[in-house]
């Protein structure tokens, strides 16, 4: 029987505080004009009155820059030129207040890093050491479209606990043993009675029904990849694009990365950085040939990957969780919802 606990807003704040002795706790904090996830231990004050964080929580599991290996280049050193894994801290962490679209995003990204043939040690270790406490959306934004891509304002995919904001109280729905373990360490709160649970469920139903699936992606699976690729609209979609990395770096489902060596004197690091299909360097061959040398090819790649290639390859839905960050932050206002419509109606 699903366990529910109810917390007054103050109880929840102290409950989250209590988690600090067990987890690195990440909470949404106000930071200038927008909200970002911040570490509670750095004295940041949680603020759960927010739409969504400006940057996605992806960097908590998948940092933008990360040292993979260290090595010595000193001739005398017997291990010179041999790479050693950099020390890492995979101690338990908790993301409290993650929106369902961002939790869904982690599920969609996992198929890339955790495969039968290869496992990315850093992504998987951090992901598995993280407990996700989601906060349902009472007032989704006009640019949110999670219900169109397999998610929802109260979707439970990828979450260990789901919180319902009932105004003066939070109702916590335990979804996994990991979530149960977290709430046990959080202290406080009481068992929730049936009326509260029904109130929460009707809230969830009301908000979800107010978010019809407006972005059409249902027809994409059967579309021919070559027809989509040769579609006439790419030129117009891509014109405004300035090929910056904003959409890919804000996107919770983008995972592309680059590997770079950096040397300082007699030692060096092999570092992984986020990368973007928007950058020309991404596919530039040593010979100078670049299969995606032009802007139109790169913009097409971004949307074809998210709305067709990923869909065909992994059969997990589209590589988009409908968070709307790229729609809100693209300086040239290139809107994935419009591109999805163009592709779906081809």
């Amino acid at each position: 029987m699903t366990a529910y606990r109810v917390y007054s807003k103050e109880e929840w704040t102290s409950a989250v505080k209590a988690l600090e002795s067990h987890y690195q706790v990440f909470v949404p904090v106000k930071d200038g004009d927008f909200h970002l996830f911040g570490l509670l231990s750095e004295g940041k004050r949680p603020d759960f009155d927010f739409q969504n964080t400006h940057l996605s929580p992806k960097s908590i599991v998948y940092p933008q820059s990360e040292r993979m290996f260290e090595y010595s280049l000193d001739g005398e050193d017997p291990d010179a030129h041999m790479l050693k894994e950099a020390p890492k801290d995979f101690s338990p962490r908790a993301i409290v207040g993650i929106r369902p679209c961002d939790a869904l995003a982690f599920q969609r990204v996992r198929v890339n890093f955790d495969t039968p043939r290869y496992r990315d040690p850093w992504w998987v270790s951090r992901f598995e050491s993280t407990t996700f406490v989601g906060l349902g959306c009472n007032a989704p934004e006009a640019t949110c479209f999670c219900t169109s891509v397999g998610g929802g304002p109260f979707s439970e995919a990828g979450l260990d606990v789901l919180l319902y904001d009932l105004g003066d109280r939070f109702l916590a729905k335990v979804l996994t043993s990991k979530g149960d373990g977290l709430l046990k360490k959080a202290l406080g709160g009481m068992e929730a009675d049936g009326t509260l649970v029904r109130q929460a469920e009707s809230l969830a139903l009301k908000v979800t029904e107010a978010m019809p699936a407006v972005v059409p992606v249902d027809g994409l699976k059967d579309k021919s990849v070559l027809e989509l690729f040769e579609a006439p609209f790419w030129e117009d979609v891509a014109f405004g694009c300035i090929n910056c990395g904003t959409c890919t770096y804000l996107c919770p489902t983008c995972w592309c990365f680059d590997i770079q060596d950096e040397v300082l004197g007699k030692s060096g690091d092999r570092i992984r950085n986020w990368d973007s299909c928007m950058f020309p360097l991404f596919t530039l061959h040593g010979s100078g040939h670049n299969p995606r040398g032009g802007k139109v090819a790169r913009v097409r790649q971004r949307f074809m990957h998210k709305l067709k290639y990923y869909l065909d390859k992994y059969n997990e839905g589209v590589q988009c969780s409908g968070c709307g960050r790229c729609v809100r932050s693209c300086p040239a206002n290139i809107d994935i919802r419009q591109v999805a419509e163009l592709m779906n109606s081809l």
Partner: protein, 58 residues
């Protein structure tokens, strides 16, 4: 001049960046400028700003 102003505007301590015009015939001036730069920089102590150490990454 633009580079010096910009660097110092964003926080490079004055005295870190020197410009001088010394022809190959002006040996004395070269010695004088070299000593002066050395003395000013030593007073400023080791440079911290814009000096790349081990990458500060996760």
């Amino acid at each position: 001049m633009l580079l010096k102003n910009l660097l110092e505007h964003i926080g490079l301590e004055p005295g870190r960046l020197h410009f001088s015009w010394i022809s190959s015939a002006e040996a004395a001036k070269f010695v004088e400028v070299a000593n002066e730069v050395n003395q000013v920089v030593e007073e400023l102590g080791p440079a911290r700003f814009l000096v790349k150490r081990k990458a500060r990454v996760a």
